[in-house]
Amino acid sequence: MAQDQANEPERVFNMYKKMLLIRAFEEAAGENFHAGNVRGSVHQYIGEEAIAVGICANLRKEDLLTSYHRGHGHSIAKGADPRAMMLELFGRVGGTSGGKGGSMHIADFSVGMLGANGVIADGCTISVGAAQAIKLLKQDKIVVNFIGDGGINRGPFMEALNWAKIYNLPVLFVCENNQIAATTTTKTVTAGEGIAARAESYGIPAITIDGNDLLLVDNTSARIIDEIRSGSGPQLIQAMTYRLRGHFAHDKALYRIPGEAEAALEFEPVRRTESWLITQGISEEELANARDEAEQTISQYVVDAHAAPWPDIADAFTDVQDVGAPQVGVNS
């Protein structure tokens, strides 16, 4: 693992706990999807936790973040309440969106998390606009946009890169390259050297790092985020990683080369962070306790979610719009 003066064991241990919380959240989300408690679509972030956690550790509450369909990890890392998120996945009152959004639309504006997104790459253009607002309002904030390696081939992302650079906007693009898009190996549909080269062709500094190396993500993004805050303009981090599970919870990922996922376990970020923590004198017991705590915390949220009330039918008609808002029952 990369090492640096910033790698305080306590800081890393805290990040580790965030990773555990995400992992436990995702395991529970998957289980409850299979049990039929969570409906729709659930894209788990298992195996990619170091990216969200390492980057968000360098963000302030008021910084903004946009995500994509695999957005639970980013939300928790940015400080969203995982209990409200679990309630949202269950479609209950008390959920982040009161049950109206679900997994693909997790958002917590109170911590600057402007939303997961069901449409690939749409977060990119939203991000550059948010950054433009920040400039106009003369605020001291930045925007981080997460995107997958499949998403980089949508035009709006490329437009957003150009846009961010010409207006010199405070945006960090983070491409989470797990090397796959649903069932498609992205190398087969991505021309050239990939996103870092593309970003550089727009004059946007880009760096490719091992996204499963928590300390490296933390240190790299600390430096880059600092530069962006100081007015460097947009930058891009390509974080290499591996999706340990299927594309969504009901995907068995049979298209994988046999053994690939098992082999990848060796490089997955939770274990790697544990190994590092042990070299820093953290005991196996402390790690086990942390894992238990995360699991228990999330288990409790699942219990809470089961217990939480369903929304009222009338809630379906609120939050649509002020002008011309629909009326309950008018169409039925």
Partner: protein, 324 residues
């Protein structure tokens, strides 16, 4: 007759066309291994090659645009957009190019392509994966709009769409993928675009519907008929052109009409049918044409809210009773 699902029937129709015509091909995300969202392309890549069942990058604008170019250049592409919601990333290509090329170029060009974009609600996939924008495309000159409701139709209409020389917006309903029905494998002829299906005959009330609402309305009609309101059900099958003759003759017979669709009622295509019937058959009407469509709200995620959006058999029955 063979029992098969709506998805299997679509696959059969596509396979038959791939077999028949070497210029037919399909492009979209995850068609190869995944075989499409519901297996409607299953194993076809293995059989017809990666040049005819093409896995694409996530580039909807180009999936649509490339299909247009390929159609102009002598092939019959099927652009698979997965969800009509994602097809919104390619509205420009569909509406500004595919729909207009033949006209703008004074008849020099044809755009024989299928833009395949499933519609509708299916179990909590929420606001960005559940829309039914068929009314938009029926409003666009140059486009044909098809909304199959049964396995058999999903084979016969898909074949017709592929053979059509006009760009066809082909809107399967996601909630129907697993529905089962009889398909006559021996009858390999495509259906005729623009011909409705009389699902059930009746003499007191006509209900016009399509796509996911057909089975709901059919069940409601059975109950209604049992209870003395002889209800005729018409599955439009294609919204443009819609089968004026079938609808008009039915209304002339019954004197009462209702249109039911899952799409948002405000601005939905029900308004078109209602207005045409009213304007041309006013003297035949024993009461106003009525509409049932979705509330003007994004589709909510939470299951009870989502369910409340959907039109139920009971609601159809209640509204039908209000005629009498």
């Amino acid at each position: 007759m063979t029992e098969m699902t709506y998805a299997q029937a679509a696959r059969l129709g596509l396979k038959e066309e791939l077999e028949r015509d070497p210029t037919v091909w399909a492009l979209g995300e995850d068609l190869g291994f995944e075989g499409g969202m519901a297996g409607q392309y299953k194993d076809l890549q293995a059989e017809y090659g990666a040049d005819r069942i093409v896995d694409t990058p996530i580039s909807e604008a180009t999936i649509m645009g490339a299909a247009i170019g390929a159609a102009l250049a002598g092939t019959r592409p099927i652009a698979e957009l997965r969800f009509s919601d994602f097809a919104m990333c390619a509205v420009d290509e569909l509406v500004n190019q595919a729909a207009k090329a033949r006209y703008m170029f004074g008849g020099q060009a044809r755009v024989p392509m299928v833009a395949r974009m499933p519609i509708g609600i299916r179990g909590g996939i929420a606001a960005q994966h559940s829309q039914s924008p068929e009314a938009w495309y029926a409003h666009v000159p140059g486009l044909v709009v098809v909304t199959p409701a049964t396995p058999s139709d999903n084979r016969g209409l898909l074949k017709a769409a592929i053979r059509c020389d006009d760009p066809v917006v082909y809107m399967e309903h996601k909630g129907l993928w697993g529905s089962v029905g009889e398909v006559n494998e021996n009858d390999v002829e495509p259906l005729t675009l623009g011909k409705a299906r009389i699902v059930k005959e009746g003499s007191d009330l006509t209900i016009v519907t399509w796509a996911g609402m057909v089975s709901v309305v059919e069940k409601a009609a059975i109950t209604l008929s049992e209870e003395g309101v002889s209800t005729e059900v018409i599955d439009l099958r294609t919204l443009w052109p819609w089968d004026r003759e079938a609808v008009f003759s039915s209304v002339i017979k019954t004197g009462r009409m209702m249109v039911v669709h899952e799409a948002v009622q405000v601005g939905g295509f029900g308004g078109e049918i209602s207005s045409e019937v009213t304007e041309h058959l006013f003297d035949n009407l024993k009461g106003p044409v009525k509409r049932m469509g979705g509330a003007r709200i994004p589709i909510p995620f939470s299951i009870p809210l989502e369910e409340s959006y959907m039109i139920s058999q009971e609601q159809v029955i209640a509204k039908a009773r209000s005629f009498f």
